[in-house]
């Protein structure tokens, strides 16, 4: 037992000696939460718009003002011919141009159809799509205002209510995602590198010839990382709560239990990788390409799984983070209990047992060589 404890102390010394890595480990979640909260998911606003008004009447002025004062757009001047548009788009300052046809107001007043064309810089299709959405809404609202002035309209009100996320905070999406990613990073990447490093430098041999059992060696290696991962998870939860008001609606005990399950799963993946990889570089590449990238791209963290082609959906089904994300959101946001997440929990538990078994087996074989 005392040997085992000294192994853990040795591992802690390794971790604390490398202050920069430690700093980065705790810096990544903080920085990511801030960037995702304030940059990546920032509200749609300040989109540059120019106006090409061939009619110059009260209607065009009112519509343009309505659009420009909506808070989403920023006025970048009038232009006077279509030839100017290319230059404006190339400068990147203007993302859309409103083109009112000549006699726009006259057509409207004479019960005819008036044409308004919106030309967008669709090199970023997301912006173009959102511009379409907002401008359609504003023009539609203008029309129904005009209609109401003339009729005793029977109006059906829409009362949207956002369930589970009343204020539509994007933190509800990305905080669980960052958690899944960071825990994978610490548990799998860091562990696999630290084990292969000892192999590469030959110090693993020294530990292997000691009277410690393989299980003890593995446990001694991973215990510090379990603690590190747990601390990091707490940091993310606290940041989510204090910066973005992200609640934990369900049982905290259940949440911690699931965290532990996921950390164990990632650690066994890390050990498995280190038994396969011969050098730190290979361990890094396997961890990055087989674990980190899929975690970021395919787990539903940034991109919704429902949108992906079937093949990628199947691929995402074998990724632990995908199930972990569902569990996190269910417990934290919907306040679900084990009754709703037992399915996903079972999947994670099954994966854990599989990888743990594979890792310990591989590790023992290496000892005998």
């Amino acid at each position: 037992m005392s040997r085992f404890i000294s192994l853990i102390i040795k591992e802690f010394n390794h971790i604390f000696r490398d202050k920069r890595t430690l700093l980065v480990l705790f810096g990544i979640p903080v920085m990511q939460i801030l960037i995702f909260g304030y940059v990546v998911n920032s509200d749609f606003k300040n989109i540059g718009i120019s106006v090409l008004d061939r009619s110059n009447d009260t209607h065009t002025a009112r519509i343009a003002t309505k659009i420009l004062s909506s808070g989403y757009f920023e006025y970048r001047g009038n232009i006077y011919s279509e030839e100017e548009i290319t230059g404006k788009f190339k400068s990147g300052k203007v993302k859309a141009v409103l083109v009112f046809e000549s006699d726009f107001g006259k057509h409207l007043n004479n019960s005819e159809t008036a044409h308004l064309q919106v030309i967008t810089d669709a090199s970023d299709p997301n912006i173009a799509r959102t511009i379409v959405g907002y401008i359609s809404g504003i023009v539609m609202a203008y029309q129904s205002e005009m209609l109401q002035a003339g009729t005793d309209a029977v109006l059906i009100d829409a009362q949207p209510r956002m369930v589970f996320n009343e204020n539509l905070a994007s933190a509800y999406m990305f905080v669980p995602g960052i958690m899944a990613m960071i825990l994978m990073l610490i548990s799998a990447l860091l562990t696999s590198i630290s084990v292969t490093r000892e192999k590469e430098l030959g110090t693993m041999e020294v530990i292997l010839v000691s009277p410690l059992k393989p299980t003890q060696i593995i446990l001694g290696k991973v215990t510090p990382y379990i603690l590190l991962a747990f601390l990091n998870a707490m940091l993310i939860l606290l940041l989510g709560f204090f910066v973005f008001g992200l609640p934990v609606n369900g049982s905290l005990i259940l949440l911690l239990g699931e965290l532990l399950l996921y950390i164990t799963l990632s650690l066994s993946l890390g050990i498995l990788i280190s038994t396969i990889a011969k050098s730190q570089q290979i361990a890094m590449f396997i961890s990055l390409f087989a674990l980190m990238l899929p975690t970021i791209l395919l787990s539903g963290f940034i991109f919704p799984i429902e949108n992906m082609p079937k093949v990628l959906q199947w691929l995402s089904a074998i990724l632990p983070p995908r199930w972990f994300l569902i569990i996190l959101k269910d417990i934290m946001l919907k306040g679900n209990g084990l009754a709703q997440v037992w399915n996903e929990t079972l999947i994670l538990a099954g994966m854990t047992i599989f990888f743990l078994f594979a890792a310990v087996r591989k590790f023992t074989i290496r000892l005998q060589v």
Partner: protein, 372 residues
């Protein structure tokens, strides 16, 4: 000069000896493009809706039919109580429940105001906003047709209607792939240059072979140039491979001049390679260099506007992006490829990049010590 050539040759021999290197350079971009381009599909999928109809009249059925016939919505059945509705949302079986209150039809017939409640799963706020907007559009349309039924055709109000049309330049189909491929090229070029090089430098340090070079008469600048040039060449080759794949597989437009793009990439690479060298110089182990690089790459990529419009980001982020080389590259590559920008449009970015390049190389040379 001869020393440098020998060093470069040594570096290439080492890189090419690693058998995974060449396949990795071709396979990695292929995989990245496929996964990223297809996974990063932000297009709206079908919205699953469910109806809670407490009215049960022809008018409420008509409204429900409006949703069913919309190409954006797909029906996932009816529910009969609010509890059931919330459960459906909880289990992710519906994105929106449309709650029609009792007395809906009779109120409309009496020309009184009534309301419809939309219960929307708000966890993914971006898609919730769109769901809400689409649903309200349908309701507005329905409203209008009811108005028309009350013998008040739209034209009778003495007002014409506005025909709103859209014309999307540079990407008429709003194809997300065309937007993503240049972004992926930026990541590829950056990873191949910056990451591989700094890992390589620290690996030599860790294994002690840097020591051997340090005792030779090779000068500091020769060593650094010898390290930079091979990865600089590799990264430019990677750009070519990626561009070709993007053209063949996704038919990404190349409107601007390829020469201009390669020129900008060359200048850009000097900056990031210099930065990678600087981090390698201050790191002792591969683990350290990996994590520090990972941190910066992540920050730079997320801030660069690969997924998000940089117009909307807050002021401090705009300020940060003036020193973020990836933000420049991300903007310039999209301008050249998608909008056909020429040198006149991007010369400012060129100039900034050149200044950064000189600064970074200076920093890297100064931080490199010819001692252990």
């Amino acid at each position: 000069m001869r020393t440098i050539i020998v060093l470069i040759r040594k570096e290439f021999t080492q890189i090419l000896r690693n058998r995974i290197m060449i396949p990795a350079m071709i396979v990695a971009p292929l995989i990245q493009m496929f996964i990223l381009v297809y996974a990063a599909n932000m297009n709206m999928r079908d919205i699953d809706f469910s109806i809670l109809d407490e009215d049960g009249t022809t008018t409420s059925a008509k409204l429900a039919a409006r949703f069913s016939s919309s190409p954006f919505f797909s029906n996932s059945g009816s529910v009969f109580s609010l509890e059931e509705a919330e459960n459906l949302l909880r289990e992710d079986k519906a994105d929106i429940v449309i709650h029609i209150p009792p007395g809906f039809e009779s109120k409309i017939d009496n020309r009184e105001k009534t309301s419809v409640q939309f219960l929307i799963n708000g966890i993914n706020s971006a898609s919730a906003v769109l769901t809400s907007a689409y649903s309200q559009n349908i309701l507005l349309d329905f409203n209008r047709s009811i108005l028309a039924e009350f013998s008040r055709p739209v034209a009778a109000s003495g007002m014409g209607s506005i025909d709103l049309s859209y014309s999307h330049w540079y990407n008429p189909e709003l194809d997300f792939k065309i937007f993503m491929v240049p972004g992926i090229l930026v990541i590829l070029v950056t990873l191949v240059g910056w990451l591989l090089m700094s890992l390589n430098v620290v690996r030599e340090k860790e294994l002690g072979t840097t020591e051997q070079i340090n005792v030779t008469p090779i000068k500091k600048y020769q060593f650094i140039i010898g390290k930079l040039i091979p990865f600089w060449i590799l990264a430019i080759i990677e750009l070519g491979i990626g561009l070709m794949l993007g053209k063949i597989i996704f038919n990404v437009p190349i409107l601007g001049s390829v020469g201009l793009l390669v020129g900008f990439t060359a200048v850009y690479l000097v900056t990031v390679l210099g930065f990678g060298l600087f981090i390698a110089a201050i790191s002792d182990t591969q683990q350290q260099v990996m994590f520090i690089n990972f941190f910066f790459v992540l920050v730079f990529i997320l801030m660069s506007g690969i997924f998000t419009p940089v117009e909307s980001i807050p002021g401090w982020a705009v300020a940060f992006n003036t020193i973020n080389p990836l933000a420049y590259f991300m903007r310039v590559i999209r301008m050249i490829l998608l909008k056909g920008a020429g040198f006149a449009d991007v010369w400012k970015d060129f100039a900034s990049m050149a200044v950064f390049g000189v600064a970074m190389i200076t920093l890297a040379v100064r931080s490199y010590r010819k001692r252990a």
